[in-house]
Symmetry: C2
Subunit: 248 residues, 2 copies
């Protein structure tokens, strides 16, 4: 993996076939970086199956995500599980209408650090080494598996996904460490029953990362401006909005 292409190709720990593209294309791009072929590695070409190589993914509510990201997004984790807000939602195109795909979301630690919020400076500080990561879980989109025609037809929403800090959770929620930073990842996987799945697995999926969806997991909001933005935008928090425009 000593590839020196303009777009660096990082391999995530524990899963050598997941390709994590760096943020070269991120600023101003409405579309996520395409799932580019990995550079030749040990004599085998690492190109993607055509049903996967042509897939494009667009993040919904991107401007909202960026508003949060500029403040430093926080996501509540609870024992029972808490939804994300904003919700991870995407619009997909370029799928083979007849092919079957599975959509997965997972969360990788951005670094191995633990954070704390410094109220005097209203900013996040490194507070030491990160805790050991919980066993990695993935969240299947509940519509999986489905045909490409289905996925591209409408917005794909991961609104049922919940975050928890309970290491013993058995509700299938995503287990995260509080006060740690995470990066959501979307995996688009081609269901290919005809080929030798062991041999071709690396060709049949593609990973998309939207840097503006990074967040710090918390058990209570730290940055008051994050709290206010959540209240302003999340319909379920309407009860906490100041009754300004009640005249209309």
């Amino acid at each position: 993996n000593g590839a020196k292409s303009p777009i660096s190709c990082l391999l995530s720990a524990g899963d050598q076939s997941l390709i994590l593209l760096s943020a070269v294309n991120k600023a101003g791009s409405e579309w996520s970086p395409a799932c580019l072929p990995c550079s030749p590695d040990e004599g085998r070409t690492c190109s993607k199956a055509p049903e996967v190589a042509s897939v494009r993914v667009q993040l919904e509510m991107q401007s909202l995500w960026r508003q949060f990201d500029q403040l430093g997004t926080e996501m509540i984790v609870t024992k029972a599980g808490r939804r994300m807000f904003p919700t991870f939602q995407v619009h997909i195109s370029g799928m083979d209408p007849a092919a079957e795909y599975v959509l997965l979301l997972d969360f990788i630690p951005v670094d191995d650090k633990r954070y704390r919020y410094a109220f005097h400076s209203s900013s996040w500080m490194v507070a030491g080494r990160g805790d050991i990561a919980a066993p990695g879980r993935v969240h299947f989109h509940p519509d999986s598996p489905a045909r490409g025609a289905q996925w591209v037809k409408q917005t794909v929403s991961f609104d049922r996904l919940k975050l928890t800090n309970n290491l013993l959770d058995d509700n299938g929620h995503m287990i995260l460490n509080s006060m740690h930073r995470y990066q959501p990842r979307l995996h688009v996987i081609l269901v290919d029953r005809s080929r030798d799945s062991q041999r071709y697995a690396h060709r049949n999926f593609c990973t998309f990362i939207f840097p503006e969806t990074r967040f710090i997991a918390v058990t209570a909001y730290q940055n008051h401006r994050i709290t206010q933005l959540k209240i302003a935008c999340n319909p379920f928090a309407k009860g906490f909005r100041a009754a300004d425009s009640e005249n209309r």
Copy 2:
């Protein structure tokens, strides 16, 4: 199909491989009739694949269904779609844990008659020939397809299914004619990607019928006792319950 076994084996119109067992076993049986092999027909044996032949299905809330059935169950149909109450829920056993199954619910007319409710005698009367049936739809259980291990683990509920009288419905609801009688049917289908699906289709599924789930579709309740039983048992109708035991 001149089979003269104690359990008569009826074939439903338009789908010669769906086996509809008559009500010989119905009274007192907690379990639905098993999906028995059809009698030999035109020289080919009509036996079921083992993953399907061993499946057993038990109706949940059977005593509630029977309370309604004794009064003559009515189900509301609306333009927007209305849920069923009681809900069609089953407990399944005997599936191959590793095999994949699809679960379907559909509704067949019990007869070709139209009914009307005679208030003076508090009973349903035949009111002429039935209207032409809407194009047949099926309702896939939203968890389909899933492994046998998943299906048998907990109650399988069709609570999201909705009934409509709108012939132009495009929400995927089940279209029924008001004032007509229907019989729900559960189809358990083995997902078999290895065999010649055309040739073996009849071996790969099995149909279960619970006679106590029959009902008449209505746009407004006719029998007042049905209304009262719905109010007494459906949590969403709690607002209409007489506040008798408000002391507790």
